[in-house]
Amino acid sequence: MKSHQVINLRHLTPSAYIIRLEKKNFTFKTGQYITLGFSGSIDRREYSIYSAEQDDYIEVLIKDVENGLLSKKLKKCKPGDMLDIDGAFGHFSLKDDEVKNKKFMFICTGTGISPVHSFIHTHPEMDYTLLHGIRHKEEAYEKETYDSNRYVLCTSGENTGDFNGRVTEYLLKNPVSPDTICYLCGNCHMIYEAYDILEKQGVKLGPIHTEVYF
C-alpha cells in the first residue's frame, strides 16, 4: 500500500467526480482497479482506474451513493490530501493480441464506464462500440472524450439519449455479431441479463469479460 497525493478533483455532476492522484511509480494494466482509502484509515473501497496506462497521473471516477460511507467522504478531499492506494488488482483486461484486430463492444452502466474510458484512451486505435446505460443525460460522464460515431447513450429515465431504454433492451433490438469481443461493467443485474442475451446471440464470454461493482 502506498500513499499518493491528491492533485485535483473534477466535479462532473452534483454526485459524480473524478479524483486525480499523483502516479509515482505505480503501474497497472488498463481495466484493473485499485482499493482506495484515506491514509491510515481501515475503510477502503475498490475503484476502477479511469486514466490511461500512459497518463502520468491516476484518475478514478466516483459517484457518491446514497448512505454510502466512502464515496461521500472522498468527494470532500482536497488537493494535497493523501490517499492510500493498493493494487492494481483484477483480471478485467484486454488481450494484447485482440486489441489490434478485433471488434469490441463495451457495455456499461453508470460509473462502470470508468475502465472502458481507460481501455479506449490507452488504445485509441481500437475498433469499438460503447454502450453506456444511465438514467439521465448528465450522467454521460465526459461523453465528448469518445468518438461520437462509436458511442451509444442509452437513457432509461428520459428520452434524451441515442436510445430510450436500458442497455439490455438495446441489445435485444440490435443483436451483436458473434465475432465481437464484449466487456460488461457495472451493476450485477445488468451484467446478469446482458450476459444471457449475448450468449443467446452466440457471443462467447470468458471470466475476464465482466466486472461487477455492486
Binding site: 483480471h91 450485477c188 446478469y192 450476459y195 471470466p207 461487477v212
Partner: protein
C-alpha cells in the same frame, strides 16, 4: 526432550504449514504430543474464514490458557493477522505470529528457551521457507507453491489476511518435490491459497503441473483445492496423465449465476459444467468435490434450488457446505438482503442431505472396481488410506506397511460414520 502440541484449523495450506513446522521440531529433538496432553509448547494455527472458525480458534486458545499456565502458547495463522491487537493484549498468549513469519516459529521457540525474548518483527519473513513434511501428521507430502490471493471474492477475508498472490520460484518447487520423492514420498499434494493463478516468470500453473508429472519416481500427484477459473485445455489434458490422481476440489460456492456475479466469482455455471463434462467424457468416474456457501446475501428460494440441483447434476463426490457468515471489511458485509440465520440453517440441512446422497451414489460405483490405496493408518491387520480418487478405503492384509501402495478390489461400502469403501487385496 521437550514436547510440542499443535492444533490446526482451516484450510489445507494451514495443515501443510503445521506439518512442515511439526517436522522441523521433530528433527530437532522435540516430541510431538497430542493437543490434549501436557506439552511445553502449544501452537494454535488459527483460521478466520468463517465465524465458526473464529469461534473454534478462540475456544482452543481458552482451553490452553485455562489448563496449562506454564506452557508457551503461540497463536499463529489468519486470526493472528486479522485480530493481532486483540490477541496480543491477552497475557496468556506468549507470542502472536502472523502468517508472514509463521515459518520462523522454530527459531522463536528456540530463542524463548534460550532466554532470549524475540519480538516477532525480528523474525525472518518468508512465506515459502518451510521444510518438508516428511514427519508431521500425514503420509502425503504437501508442497506449497503459492500464497495469497488477489481475487477479492466479495465474501472472503483471505486476500486481506494472506495478502497479495505470490508464487514460489519454479525451480524451488521442482527441487523440493524431487527431494521428497527421492525421500520416499508416494503422494505429493500441491497447495496454496489460489494455486490456479500460479505464475512465476514464464511458467503458469499448467506448466508447473506438467513439469511435476514428468519427474521420475513412483508417486502420484494430487492438486488441493482449485478455483474453477483460469485454466485451459492444456491443464485438462494433464488430468489424464497416469501420475495424476482423478480428483479435483473445484470450489463452486453457488449454483446460481446471479449469486456468482454477486460473489464476484470468475466463472459461470455453464463454464463450470463444461469443465466437469469435458473431464468426465474422458474419465466418467473422475471425482469432483466442492465447497458451497449457503445463505449468501440475496439468495432466493430459486437460487438455493439451483444450488441443490447443481450438486445433483454434477454428482459431486463430496461437498463442503458453509453457512454464509459476515466477515468484517468484505464487500458482502455491506450488501443488503442478508439471509436470516434460521433460514440458512434450514437450507444447510437440506443441502447437506442432498450432498450426502450424492456422495453415497458416487462412491457406490466403485464396488467391484479397483483402487490403488496409499496406506496411512494401520491397526493390526487393518489398513486404511485413500484410493487415487481420494475416497477412504479400508482392507485387511498381513505385514502392512505405511506409505505403501496396495491394489485393492472394492467389495462393499460402509455407511456408518463416513462413507467408507471396504476392499480386498488383489
Amino acid at each position: 526432550m521437550k514436547t510440542i502440541a499443535f492444533k490446526t484449523l482451516g484450510c489445507r495450506l494451514n495443515q501443510y504449514e503445521t506439518d512442515a513446522l511439526a517436522s522441523q521440531f521433530q528433527n530437532n529433538n522435540y516430541k510431538l504430543v497430542d493437543f490434549d496432553e501436557e506439552a511445553d509448547v502449544y501452537v494454535i494455527n488459527t483460521c478466520t474464514v468463517t465465524h465458526q472458525s473464529d469461534h473454534k480458534s478462540r475456544n482452543f486458545i481458552n482451553q490452553i490458557t485455562k489448563r496449562h499456565k506454564d506452557s508457551i502458547l503461540v497463536v499463529t495463522g489468519c486470526m493472528a493477522d486479522n485480530a493481532k491487537d486483540e490477541l496480543e493484549s491477552k497475557d496468556e498468549i506468549n507470542y502472536v505470529l502472523e502468517n508472514d513469519n509463521k515459518s520462523a516459529l522454530f527459531s522463536l521457540v528456540e530463542a524463548h528457551f534460550n532466554g532470549e525474548i524475540k519480538h516477532t518483527d525480528q523474525l525472518n519473513k518468508d512465506r515459502f521457507d518451510y521444510g518438508s513434511t516428511e514427519k508431521g501428521f500425514h503420509t502425503r507430502s504437501m508442497i506449497k507453491i503459492q500464497d495469497g490471493c488477489d481475487n477479492f471474492c466479495t465474501f472472503c477475508i483471505i486476500p486481506s489476511v494472506r495478502g497479495r498472490a505470490k508464487s514460489r520460484p519454479f525451480q524451488d518447487i521442482i527441487d523440493n518435490i524431487q527431494s521428497v520423492i527421492d525421500g520416499g514420498a508416494k503422494e505429493v499434494i500441491i497447495t496454496g491459497v489460489n494455486i490456479g493463478r500460479y505464475e512465476y516468470e514464464d511458467y503458469k500453473f499448467d506448466d508447473l503441473v506438467e513439469a511435476i508429472l514428468n519427474l521420475d519416481g513412483d508417486f502420484r500427484l494430487r492438486i488441493s483445492s482449485l478455483e474453477p477459473d483460469g485454466f485451459g485445455d492444456k491443464f485438462l489434458g494433464l488430468l489424464s496423465h497416469p501420475k495424476m490422481t482423478p480428483h479435483l476440489h473445484l470450489c463452486l460456492q453457488s449454483g446460481s449465476d446471479k449469486l456468482l456475479l454477486g460473489m464476484r466469482r470468475m466463472y459461470t455455471i455453464k463454464t463450470f459444467k463444461d469443465t466437469v463434462e469435458k473431464v468426465r467424457a474422458i474419465r466418467p468416474d473422475f471425482n469432483f468435490t466442492t465447497d458451497m456457501i449457503i445463505g449468501f446475501p440475496g439468495e432466493s428460494e430459486t437460487d438455493f434450488t439451483d444450488s441443490c440441483n447443481m450438486i445433483q447434476d454434477m454428482q459431486f463426490g463430496h461437498v463442503h457446505t458453509f453457512k454464509y457468515s459476515i466477515r468484517k471489511g468484505t464487500r458482502a458485509e455491506r450488501m443488503p438482503d442478508q439471509i436470516p440465520e434460521k433460514l440458512k440453517t434450514e437450507r444447510s440441512a437440506i443441502l447437506r442431505d442432498i450432498a450426502e446422497a450424492c456422495k453415497l451414489k458416487y462412491r457406490s460405483q466403485f464396488v467391484g472396481k479397483t483402487q490403488r490405496v496409499l496406506v496411512e493408518n494401520i491397526n493390526g491387520n487393518i489398513g486404511r488410506g485413500y484410493g487415487e480418487h481420494y475416497i477412504p478405503v479400508q482392507f485387511e492384509a498381513e505385514n502392512l506397511k505405511q506409505n505403501t501402495f496396495y491394489d485393492v478390489t472394492i467389495k462393499k461400502i460402509h455407511t456408518d460414520k463416513d462413507i467408507l469403501l471396504i476392499g480386498e487385496l488383489i
